[in-house]
Symmetry: C3
Subunit: 350 residues, 3 copies
C-alpha cells in the first residue's frame, strides 16, 4: 500500500488541503498517528487530536472547520468514516492473490471457476466444485463433493468434510472445522457407547462470515444450516442439526447443542450455552455467559443469566446476589426481635 | 452411494414392498424426505409422515401396518432404526479411502501397517509407528515416536506431538491438538515466569472418539491419560496429567484443569470447568456450565451449578435467584410491621 | 534420550551413589518410577517412595539422609527440583531439529536467519522475515510480511495472517490462529451486516507462550498487543485491539472482548469472560468462570463471580445461594408469627 494524498482524493471524490504528493503506506488511529500513515476524523470526540496527530494525511468531513493550525495534509470527503472503509476495501481487493499453486493437490475430478487463488498445500478431493474468484489459503482441505460459491475466501488450515456446501461471498477464518461428525452415541449394555453414524452435512448459505477455530458438526441426517448473512465470531461450537436464522450474530466461545433452532436477527453474546432441541424466536438478544435451557418464544426478547431471564430481572437479582450475606443478617435480626415480642406476648392459641 | 431397494433388502435381510428397482443415493428424515432418498420409520410419533413423505424408499419395522396408501417403496426389516445405522456403517466402510499419497512426507524410519490411507501433506516424523487400516487425512502431523493403533481415523489438520500414543479403533476429528505442552511456569523474582519443561506424553486408549479443535496437553512427567471408550465433543480442553476414566462422555467446550482425575462412566455437560487436582467418582452426571471446585466422592452423584451442588438443590436455588428482589421486599415489609409492633410494645429490656 | 548416571552427575555438577553406568532413557515421577527411568525427590512429602521406587536413577538433594536401603542409583545435587528442570531443558535443546525441508513453500522474497528448522508443508509468503534459530513445524502458514524473532518455536498447523509481528524466544502451540479479522460489522437498514475492514495487525512481544488452538484477532486499526512475558493457555480468545500487559498469565478457554486492556502481572483463571472496552489494573487475580463487566481499578484486587466481586464476598454469596430455599422458609415462618402477633395487637394507625 502506497498512495499519495492526490490519488486518495481522486479515488474518494474528495479535495486535498496541503501537499498533493504526501505519501502514506498504512493506516493509523488519529490519536496514535505516525509519519507515513493515513488517519481519519469522524467522531467529534477525537477532534482535539487533529491538531497534534503525526499522521501524514487525515480524512475529514467536508464541513470540518479547523480552529488551530494542522500539520497533516487533509483530504475533505462527504463522510470520513465511510471513506476510510471504502478505501480499505478497495485496497484489500487490489492485493487479492490469484493463481493455482503447483504445490496444491487437486483431484482430477475437482472443478473450479475463473480467477481463483488456490495456494500451496490445499487439498481438493474428488467431486469438489468451486465457483469463480474463490480464495483458498494454504492448508485448506475440502473433502469429497464439497461445493463453494463465488467470491468466497477460506483462510489457512480450514477443514471442510465431505458433502458440505458453502455459499457465495462467505469468509471462513483459519483453523475452522466444518462437517465433523455430530456427537451421537447409543449406550450399550456394557456401559460402552456405540457411534451413531452421522450421515448428513453442513449447509452454509451466502454472505456468512465464520471466525477462527470454530467447529460446525454435520447433521445426523439432513443438514446443519447456517442461513444467509450470519456472522460467527471465533471458537464457536455448532452441534449437529442446528439451524441459525438469517443475519444472526454470535460472539466468541458460544456453544449451541444439537437440533436447536435460532431465529433471524438474533444477537448472542460470548460464552453463551444453548441446550439441545430449543427454538429461539427472531430478533432476540442474549447476554454473555447466559445458559439457555428452554425455548424463547417472545420475538425481540432481551435475556440474560442462567437459567436465562429478562435482562432487567437478571441485573436486579445479581445485585441481590452480592447482598445475600446482608439478607441473612436482616432475617436473623427480625427473628430475634420477633422472639422478644413473642416472649412478651405469648400466644395462647399457638 | 447408489442402491436399489432390492440390494438394500438383501443386505439387511429384509423384504421389499413395491418396485425392487427403486434407486436411492442419500438418506433423509422421513418428515423431510425427497425423491432419491432413503428414509426410515422407527419412532411411532412419526408414523403420519409415511403417508406423505417424498422419500423413494422407507425402512419400516416388520410389523408395521399401513392405514393409508403409501407412495414410497417399503423395505420391511426386524428393527428399522438399527437397520439404517447398519446400512450407513456399511456404506461408510465401502467408501473408505486407501493408498499412500506421494505428496505425504514420511520419514524413512516411520512404519505403517497394511491397507492404510495416508493423504497428501501428511507428515510422519522419525520413529512414528502406525497399525493397519489407519486413515490419516490431509495435513495430519505426527511427531517423533508417535504410535497409532489399528483402524484409527485421524481427520485433517490434526497435530500429535512427539511421544504420544493413540490406541486402536479411535476417531480424532479435524484440528485437534494432542500433546501440546502443559501450562506450567515457575514465578521468578522479577515477576516473569520460567517455563517448567513438560517431559511426559498423552496416552489415548482404544475406542476413543475426540471431537474437532480439542486440546489435550502432555503431562509434565508421566502421562495425560484418556481411557478406553471415552467420547469427547468439540473444543474441549484437557490439561496436563489429567486422567479420564473409561466410557466417560464429555460435551463441547468443557475444560479440565491439571492433574484432575475423572472417574468411569461419567456424563459431563458442555462448558463445564473443573479446577485442578480433583478426584471425581464413577457414574457421576454433571450439568452444563457447572464449576467444579472440590472432589465429588459420591458414586452416581447428579450435580449442577457453581459451586456445584446436587442438581435438585441447584434448580431450587436458581428459582429463588430469580425471586431475590421479591425476597428483599418481603423482608422490608416484615421489618416495617415489626417496627410498628415494637413501637406499641416497647421492650424494657432492649 | 539415553544417559548414564555418571554423565548426568557430570552435567549437573553432582555426585553418584551407586553404579555409575546405570542407564536411563526417560523421566518418571518417583511414585510411578520404572526401570530405565530417571526420577527425583524434591518435596519431602514423597520421601517414602524413594525406598520402593523402581526408577533406575533418582536425583536427590545433597543433604538427603536415607533411613532405609535404596535400590536406585542416587545422584546428589544442590537442588533436585532445579536439576531435573535443567536436565530436561538441556535434553530438549539437544534434540532440537534443524534444516530447511524441500517440501516447504518459501517465497523468494522471504528471509530467514541461521540455524532455522523449517519443516515440510510450511508456507512462507512474500515479505516474511524470520530470525535465527527459529523452528517452524509442519503446516505452519505465515502470511505476507510476517516477522518472527530469534529462537521462537511455532508448532504445527499454526496460521499467522499478514503483517503480524512475533517476538523473540516465543513458543506458539499447534493450531493457534494469529491475526484473523476482528469481529466488526455495521448494521444495515435491511437487517444485514456490512463487514468493517480490519486493517491493523497483531504484535506479540518477546518471551510469550501461547497455547494450542487459541485465536488472536488483528486490530481494526493499530495493533492487538501481547506484551513481553505473557503466558496464554489453550483455546483462549483475544479480540481486536485488546492489549495484555507484561507477564500476565491466563488459563484456558478465557475470552477477552474488543479493546479491553489487561494490566501487568495479572493472573486470570479459566473460562473467564471480559466485556469490551474495559481497563483492568496491574497485579489483579480473577477466579475461574468469572464475568467481568466493568473496569477493575484497584491494583492487586482478587475478584470472582458474575458480575465480578471480591473473592471473599463471592464465596459468602455462593454459600448463601445454596441456602436460598431455607431463607424463603425462614421468611415465611417470620411472616406467620408476625401475623399472629398482629392479630393480637391490631394497629389502629395501620
Amino acid at each position: 500500500m502506497e498512495f499519495t494524498a492526490e490519488k486518495i482524493a481522486a479515488f474518494l471524490g474528495g479535495r486535498v488541503e496541503g501537499d498533493l504528493m504526501t505519501v502514506v503506506n498504512t493506516v493509523s488511529k488519529i490519536e496514535e498517528g505516525f509519519a507515513g500513515s493515513l488517519s481519519f476524523l469522524a467522531n467529534p470526540k477525537y477532534t482535539s487530536y487533529i491538531y497534534t496527530t503525526q499522521a501524514s494525511v487525515v480524512l475529514v468531513n467536508e464541513d470540518f472547520v479547523a480552529e488551530h493550525p494542522i500539520s497533516a495534509t487533509l483530504v475533505r470527503v462527504p463522510d470520513a468514516y465511510k471513506a476510510i472503509a471504502q478505501l480499505l476495501e478497495f485496497y484489500n481487493q487490489s492485493i487479492a492473490k490469484t493463481g493455482i499453486s503447483d504445490k496444491a493437490a487437486i483431484h482430477e475430478q475437482a472443478l473450479f471457476g475463473e480467477n481463483c487463488f488456490i495456494a500451496e498445500f490445499v487439498s481438493l478431493s474428488q467431486g469438489v466444485s468451486i465457483g469463480a474468484n474463490v480464495s483458498l489459503y494454504p492448508g485448506v482441505v475440502l473433502g469429497d463433493n464439497v461445493t463453494v460459491g463465488n467470491n468466497t475466501i477460506i483462510y489457512a488450515n480450514v477443514t471442510v468434510y465431505k458433502d458440505c456446501k458453502i455459499g457465495a461471498d462467505c469468509i471462513i477464518h483459519a483453523g475452522t472445522v466444518i462437517g465433523s461428525d455430530g456427537f451421537g452415541f447409543a449406550p450399550q449394555e456394557n456401559s460402552a457407547f456405540k457411534k451413531i453414524p452421522q450421515a448428513g452435512n453442513v449447509v452454509i448459505e451466502d454472505n456468512v462470515e465464520i471466525g477462527a477455530n470454530c467447529t460446525i458438526d454435520r447433521a445426523t441426517i439432513g443438514s446443519t444450516t447456517i442461513r444467509s448473512g450470519v456472522k460467527l465470531d471465533n471458537l464457536i461450537q455448532i452441534a449437529h442439526n442446528v439451524e441459525i436464522g438469517e443475519n444472526t450474530v454470535i460472539a466468541a466461545q458460544t456453544g449451541i447443542s444439537g437440533s436447536t433452532k435460532i431465529g433471524k436477527n438474533n444477537m448472542v453474546g460470548g460464552q453463551v450455552g444453548f441446550a439441545g432441541h430449543l427454538k429461539i424466536a427472531d430478533n432476540v438478544k442474549i447476554g454473555a455467559q447466559s445458559g439457555i435451557h428452554k425455548d424463547i418464544d417472545q420475538k425481540g426478547a432481551v435475556m440474560q443469566g442462567t437459567p436465562v431471564t429478562g435482562m432487567r430481572d437478571f441485573y436486579r437479582s445479581s445485585l441481590m446476589f452480592a447482598k445475600l450475606p446482608d439478607i441473612q443478617k436482616q432475617i436473623n435480626e427480625l427473628q430475634k426481635k420477633l422472639n422478644t415480642l413473642l416472649t412478651q406476648n405469648p400466644n395462647p392459641n399457638d
